[in-house]
Symmetry: C2
Subunit: 581 residues, 2 copies
């Protein structure tokens, strides 16, 4: 190595050592006849000193160093007169005797500091400079640590990491597949996997028993807020197990990660039925860092000639503790919040439980004090509380109130990024109705097994059939999901039928899997975690983009390398395709 | 878990335990009133017994079990009367009390045994069944172990695994790029990486210092003998280092793998100049499990009126120890071998050092005993040795003799798969002349640095310029290669110029990297190992296909899932492309 030590390791214990360091000039300042340079590398910052009295020429060279110049210095570790005890290296400095300029640097387009002045676009274009900043680098170091811990945990439980192919087959369900023309097979295409689902199931048929893979997956879809066309999954599958085994093994994974990476002991990983999650939180991924559960009011509010409630399928509310003092303006803000197009509610009704014990609602016209007292009892409200109530069609109003609940959680500071509330959500519906195509789709995927006792409803009441499917949620974010799979050809064929596949289509697309089920397929199931998302939660970040080394923007572009781009005519010709733009 | 134990763990120490096992019926046989079933899972085989006297019905069910049926049994561990000490579980059997059929199986299309009767095509189609066979499964378990060891070693040295993007940019050099049309950016394409080269260099510019990644790479090329369109690299890069540091760190990696995975202590990892490798072995990846180095004879054979030698640029030979007794037929076989079109030599000359000490050559007409004695001295031959000599144009004849040397190594049993001879080959040429395009190409890649003392020759004698480039070779196979990179914009631009890029082309394709070099790029270098190849060497296999879970065939097809395949017109339309087949 060009260096004897890194910029993060020298302390008072190294006094008088002759050392060689390499790194970048973070900043420098002159003071009398001296120049002080903060030199940075991945491991930390060390102060260098250059003194005109000792070596005027060297000191002059030091004065010429610009930000981000790359240098190699040799010198002696000495005690600092002006110690900085906030830094590990803050008690020492290097009295430099020789210096070599390894590379110069133009002035960076933004500050390479924890708080930078660079906008998002500029930082994306110069991602290699943004990655020099501590917060960004730390995210990737965290990601590395988490990946290592995942592998250690699963390897310790006899899981085998198997690489599944990236060049696979497009499916008719795969409207969001990226495809890859094959030069050797003109007119034909590979697809990039949205997940290694069928391959991991085949590995179970092969007897691999416990598989995992930290693997890139791909989805060519409109990139809403926080999606990336390529993303990383911790993909897992087990054979000869029941749902309980999966929940235990992967609860253990999450516990281990929190313990070993963040030194957080997860007290409890509660379990909740999907139906309860929807009823109590209006969401299949409730943020359980705070309570504020929904209270259903249909039974006590209907029949009092208030049309908004009388005409509603569902009247529900939440109790915002200690918010009774909310001003008119604050209440208007909340009403505006739920009326925003992406939420789309029409109105908000409130009930104040005043500090003097009196109750005051926005619908006093229709409800007397006795009735409001019943409301208060339902909410278990105390003086000082504010009840926020909405009404409408069941599915919609639950979603709307869920948004309001999260907003109130934010306003009340109940969503602390350093608090972690994991949760299993169980027993998802097998199918969900799609208005666009007017048919049922698999809520998880077509390989998910229905609960045996619900199979009979497939013909009569498909929407009510529950699946052996489960999600892991942390702080209101789904970080993983999975299911016990079908391992029986007849049941799998039945599922395909209900999903609108003809027998021929099913055979053409998934014949290899259906066939495999006939050669001795064991019971099996699995789970996949969104690794980007998991890392971002551990990092306390809202966006996955910050935990990806070279992310793409909302248009799927990498602005640093300027990709995607046009390709040469010659290349298109060889691939036997043409563009029709 | 459905089971209490695996099929590989019960021994004489578990006698009388009540256990539950799951697995596949490997085979069964009847003996008197009993049925014996070998049940298999990933961990081993355990014998089950069913006795008519105990439970006639259960025994009848056992008789009905076919090969590969999936079962769950409960019973007691008892001592076997007929022990099989070759198996870990061979001293016990399970006296089954209850059995559940988890899944039946059709008769597999080939035997699921170590030695199978299935041909390659059939096994490829039913890869999920082929993966049940021990040798195939063991390869993937080995692969998993090796990946874990690689990560452990590099993590221990502060390397960080960073995921680089899979959807990148096509380059004009990238004739072998797989491309991916972008739905969001019609008419534009991503490319799949042939390696993460530029990204890992940017990570060095970012200060990541020590990077690695076990990563899929892609190359759309004609699939010779043992290539796959997607393959896996151990990709590594370090900053603030010199070549010596890379050689030490990665020699350490290989040593650690051999020690921890195969319990082999590598004695020595010798280093050889590229020029010496070519001179002594006619190959840049010599198999050094055996000596048999080339001997150059120009000085002593020319000028004796033997036109084959007189007209040759180079006359070289090898000493095949103890082969003097080779018959005429055996010598003819060797001559036929080197005359095969893929080798293309025209003839072979021999010199026998007979056991009585006399010398006999196939060109006695031109050379007298005194002259042959000189040959013998050059070869350091002993009675019993056979010298094989070829003549021709330097580069060609070296390649030809290299093939013959390997063939002799095979014939003499000198290429034992359980012996491992690693080797660093150093100082590769920077450029190689390409007859097709009539210009120089980068031998390694365009980012490789020339030796400083050779830079001046770039203009005058480009073919002689040496690079800071190195390969690791094991047993005649290149398993890794790398270089110290250019980290200076001017030198990188000069390289692009010599590779035939215009300034505009270079900026358009690699502007981000050239720009990055101006913002403080540290000296850096790296290496990439072919992970598939490395695993296959550890497994003692000739083909990488056997260490890949779901490989593609020579036409780039996955015959199991039938991919690539045509895609729907609708999909093409959305992607704004059409096929021109």
């Amino acid at each position: 190595m060009l260096r004897t030590h890194t910029c993060g390791e020298l302390t008072i214990n190294d006094l008088n050592k002759e050392v060689t360091l390499t790194g970048w000039v973070q900043k420098s300042r002159d003071l009398g006849g001296m120049t002080f340079v903060d030199m940075r590398d991945r491991y930390g910052i060390t102060q260098l000193t250059f003194n005109s009295d000792d070596n005027a020429e060297l000191r002059a060279q030091a004065r010429d160093l610009g930000r981000e110049f790359v240098i190699k210095v040799t010198g002696k570790v000495i005690e600092r007169s002006n110690k900085n005890l906030k830094m590990p290296t803050g008690e020492v400095e290097i009295k430099v005797s020789t210096m070599e300029l390894l590379n110069s640097a133009k002035l960076p387009p933004f500050l390479i500091e924890d708080e930078t002045d660079g906008g998002e676009d500029l930082r994306a274009k110069y991602r290699y400079l943004d990655l020099r900043r501590n917060p960004v680098r730390n995210n990737l170091v965290l990601r590395h640590k988490m990946a290592q811990e995942v592998r250690k945990y699963l390897d310790g439980l006899d899981f085998i990491e198997v690489e599944t192919p990236v060049l696979i087959k497009s499916t008719p369900e795969g409207a969001r597949d990226f495809v890859v023309p094959s030069r050797m097979n003109p007119g034909e295409f590979y697809a990039l996997p949205q997940s290694p689902q069928t391959f991991k199931q085949l590995l179970m048929v092969s007897g691999f028993d416990r598989y995992f893979q930290i693997v890139k997956c791909f989805r060519d879809e409109d990139l809403r807020a926080d999606r990336q066309p390529e993303f990383t999954q911790i993909d897992c599958e087990m054979a000869f197990i029941e749902q309980e085994d999966i929940l235990n093994v992967f609860e253990g994974l999450i516990r281990t990660l929190f313990k070993n990476v963040k030194d957080v002991d997860l007290i409890d990983v509660p379990r909740m039925q999907y139906s309860d999650a929807m009823r109590l939180y209006g969401s299949d991924k409730p943020d359980t860092r705070f309570e504020m559960q929904f209270v259903e009011l249909n039974d006590i509010v209907k029949g009092k000639d208030f049309p908004v409630f009388d005409n509603a399928e569902l009247v529900i509310g939440i109790n915002a503790k200690n918010c009774a003092e909310y001003t008119r303006k604050q209440l208007d803000e909340l009403t505006d919040f739920i009326k925003r197009p992406q939420i789309g509610a029409t109105g908000l009704i409130y009930l104040r439980h005043n500090s003097d014990g009196s109750l005051k609602s926005s619908v006093d016209k229709f409800y007397n004090e006795g009735e409001l007292n019943k409301w208060s009892q339902m909410f278990d409200s105390k003086p000082g509380d504010l009840m926020l109530i909405m009404a409408g069609v069941k599915d919609k109003v639950r979603k709307q109130l869920s948004e309001l609940r999260l907003e109130m959680g934010n306003r009340l500071g109940l969503r602390d990024k350093n608090v972690f509330a994991p949760l299993w959500v169980l027993d998802f519906p097998l199918l969900e109705w799609d208005e666009d195509t007017q048919r049922y789709h698999a809520m998880h995927h077509p390989f998910t097994s229905p609960k045996p006792e619900d199979i009979a409803m497939l013909d009569t009441n498909p929407g009510e059939v529950r699946a052996n499917a489960y999600d892991m949620v942390i702080n209101g974010t789904e970080i993983g999901g999975g299911s016990i799979r079908i391992h029986d050809r007849a049941l799998q064929s039945l599922m395909f039928k209900h999903l609108g596949f003809s027998v021929d289509e099913a055979q053409k697309q998934f014949g290899f899997l259906l066939d495999a089920f006939e050669y001795g397929a064991p019971p099996h199931g699995g789970i996949a975690f969104g690794f980007d998302r998991l890392v971002s939660i551990f990092a306390g970040l809202d966006s996955i983009r910050d935990v990806i080394a070279f992310p793409k923007n909302n248009s799927g572009r990498d602005v640093m390398i300027d990709s995607p781009s046009t390709i040469a005519e010659e290349q298109l010709k060889e691939l036997k395709i043409s563009t029709t733009v």
